[in-house]
């Protein structure tokens, strides 16, 4: 058995990583909860956001945290436009078509990035990237602590938007009863697009939080999205709280299994967990609805 001196930092580090996973999963679960589709373009959009954050730093000299303020609205608009003008009209309202269209988008975005930037892996160097915060026996990198705090705030903000604003209420209405919402005068196509925009905006924030400690290449987003799928399924499809708890949980599991099994098996562990959960508890571990 490992001593608490090793275990405690591992758990804390897991929570820090898990927070970013949770943010990616939040976008996915929000879109699923309202549109009832799995957005296969989520990973490619995350990669695109990471490239945007990278070039904002490289070309404009913007700190990732400043870039987030610009990129978040930009990606909201991008997501809104994609749903409103591409996915919505192309799918003719059929689920199978939506699957194909989001897959097509993923292929286009990922390979356009590959064509434009080649397969090279890029990183940025920030002066504060290696600063650490000391909590008991644990040393945590500053960007990761910031990421954790930001994610908690974003989740809270999202929850408040859904609870308190008119748009948030409309989103929840459409998620629960689409036809009823339409009959009471809610513009469903608009709400769909807003939801998709919010989900994409989450990715812009996640990308800016990631870029300070992570690298970017045309496939960078995919690793996170498969984890996000796992989290979304774990937390119950469409549940905001589930995504947050699920994300933190997966982060800790990954950190601990990395400690015991080594890094290379960690990736398989997540997939196996994913398949097992889907096969045996498709409604999620935290038992939302079936």
């Amino acid at each position: 058995m490992l001593s608490p001196v090793i275990l405690f930092p591992a758990v804390l580090n897991g929570l820090m990583t898990g927070a970013v996973y949770a943010l990616v999963a939040l976008g996915l679960t929000l879109i699923y909860g309202v549109l009832h589709i799995i957005n296969f373009a989520h990973g490619a959009l995350l990669t695109a956001a990471m490239f945007a954050a990278f070039f904002a730093h490289k070309l404009l000299g913007l700190d990732p945290y400043v870039a987030a303020v610009l990129l978040t609205p930009l990606f909201f608009v991008l997501g809104y436009g994609l749903q409103r003008f591409v996915i919505g009209p192309a799918a003719h309202g059929e689920d199978r078509n939506i699957l194909l269209v989001t897959l097509g988008l993923a292929v286009v975005i990922e390979n356009a990035l590959l064509y434009a930037f080649r397969a090279d892996t890029r990183t940025i160097n920030l002066p504060y990237a290696f600063n650490v915060v000391e909590i008991g026996p644990a040393f945590l990198a500053v960007p990761r602590v910031v990421a954790f705090v930001v994610v908690i705030f974003v989740a809270l903000a999202l929850w408040l938007i859904l609870r308190l604003t008119d748009t948030g209420k409309a989103i929840r209405a459409v998620a629960k009863e689409k036809l009823g919402a339409e009959l009471s005068g809610i513009d469903v196509a608009h709400i769909y697009a807003v939801t998709f925009g919010l989900g994409t905006a989450c990715l812009a924030i996640a990308a800016c939080l990631l870029i300070s400690t992570y690298y970017v290449n045309p496939q960078a987003g995919n690793a996170f999205v498969l984890i996000a799928f796992t989290i979304v399924v774990l937390g119950g499809m469409g549940s905001v709280a589930g995504a947050l708890i699920g994300g933190l949980f997966v982060g800790v599991v990954e950190s601990l299994s990395g400690l015991w099994l080594g890094e290379s098996l960690g990736q398989i562990g997540i997939f196996v967990m994913f398949i097992l959960v889907l096969l045996f508890r498709p409604s999620g571990l935290f038992g939302e609805r079936a």
């Binding site: 296969f40 199978r96 699957l99 269209v101 390979n111 064509y115 889907l278």
Partner: protein, 326 residues
């Protein structure tokens, strides 16, 4: 039997090509297109007729390819025997994955997601397991004898893959006209109604997935013999899962000729892109993705659907041979 004549005609016409040209470029191009047609026909059986859209047919393609290659290289088993075992192994993987998924009642988005996850698990395992050569890949020994399923002339390879495509077309046509095919389409259109009428939906989907996996695995086995090299990214990579669904969807989902038509169009597009822009990575796939979106948006029944519309418009409407998608 009805509908077999057009298949015979198409195959005979394609079989003439090596007699007209001996250009390796043309033959290589057609071999790749036919390979995708075969793999796509496998996808089409499950996705087009059964309505289960898989995003992970690489799982079957890669299993067929690796089993053929590993049996030859590590156990010295004859290539033709390895070929048959490879197809069987692919079918087995299809049956096992299908059993797990369909018993759990997963469909729609979930089905796509889980098939994708299975393919990715296999890819990661293959990229670290010693038996597949891990990161280095598996190289098949060059042994140009017919007994070893390797030929000096590309034309022979071409005729073999053509024969396999021909078989897959006939099999699909026979299934389309059979009771099993009717059950499959019924499950696609309305699973609850089909079950209520006594169709064992799980069993029907499971059979479709097994046959589908076998066809796609056959493509993988052929790939191993033709290119003599495999690594995890080739065998289990997302590219083959995407091309497997692209061909039938562009050609006409749920039709006999859809995958063949689609594969020819997709590969032509890919070649044209390469000619126009040089060998830049990614651009051909950008075009594939764009075409996928455009076809779903504007021609949901693919090229075969467009033909059917034209024929109807000009009054040559003839029943039979056409797809069952209305």
């Amino acid at each position: 039997m009805k509908g077999l004549a057009p298949i015979l005609f198409a195959i005979v016409a394609l079989a003439m090509v090596p007699l007209i040209t001996s250009s390796n470029v043309v033959i290589n191009f057609l071999v790749m297109a036919l390979l995708i047609a075969l793999v796509g026909q496998g996808w089409n059986l499950l996705g087009g007729y059964g309505g289960q859209y898989s995003f992970g047919h690489a799982a079957f393609f890669g299993t067929g390819a690796y089993v053929t290659a590993i049996l030859q290289m590590r156990y010295g088993i004859n290539a033709w025997v390895g070929f048959v075992i490879g197809i069987a192994a692919g079918a087995l993987v299809g049956a096992v994955i299908g059993l797990l998924i369909f018993r759990a009642g997963l469909k729609g988005s979930y089905f796509a997601l889980v098939t994708l996850a299975f393919a990715e698990v296999l890819r990661i395992v293959a990229s670290v397991a010693p038996i597949t050569g891990a990161g280095v890949g598996t190289l098949l020994k060059l042994d140009l004898r017919p007994e070893a399923f390797q030929f000096q002339s590309r034309a022979l390879f071409y005729w073999i893959i053509l024969a396999m495509v021909g078989l897959s077309l006939v099999l699909t046509r026979l299934i389309e006209g059979s009771r099993f095919g009717a059950y499959l389409v019924a499950v696609r259109e309305n699973e609850d109604a089909a079950s209520a009428l006594g169709v064992d939906a799980t069993m029907v989907k499971l059979c479709a997935m097994t046959i589908s996996a076998a066809m796609t695995a056959a493509g993988g086995c052929f790939y191993a013999q033709y290119f003599l090299f495999l690594d995890a990214g080739i065998a289990y990579g997302p590219w083959i899962s995407i091309e497997a669904l692209l061909a039938p969807i562009i050609g006409g989902v749920g039709t006999v000729f859809g995958p063949l038509l689609g594969a020819l169009v997709v590969k032509t597009l890919g070649e044209v892109t390469k000619l126009m822009t040089g060998d830049a990575p990614g651009l051909d796939l950008v075009i594939y993705g764009g075409v996928l979106i455009l076809v779903v948006a504007f021609a949901p029944r693919g090229i075969a659907g467009l033909f059917a519309d034209l024929r109807q418009r000009f009054g040559f409407s003839k029943i039979g041979g056409e797809g069952s998608r209305g």
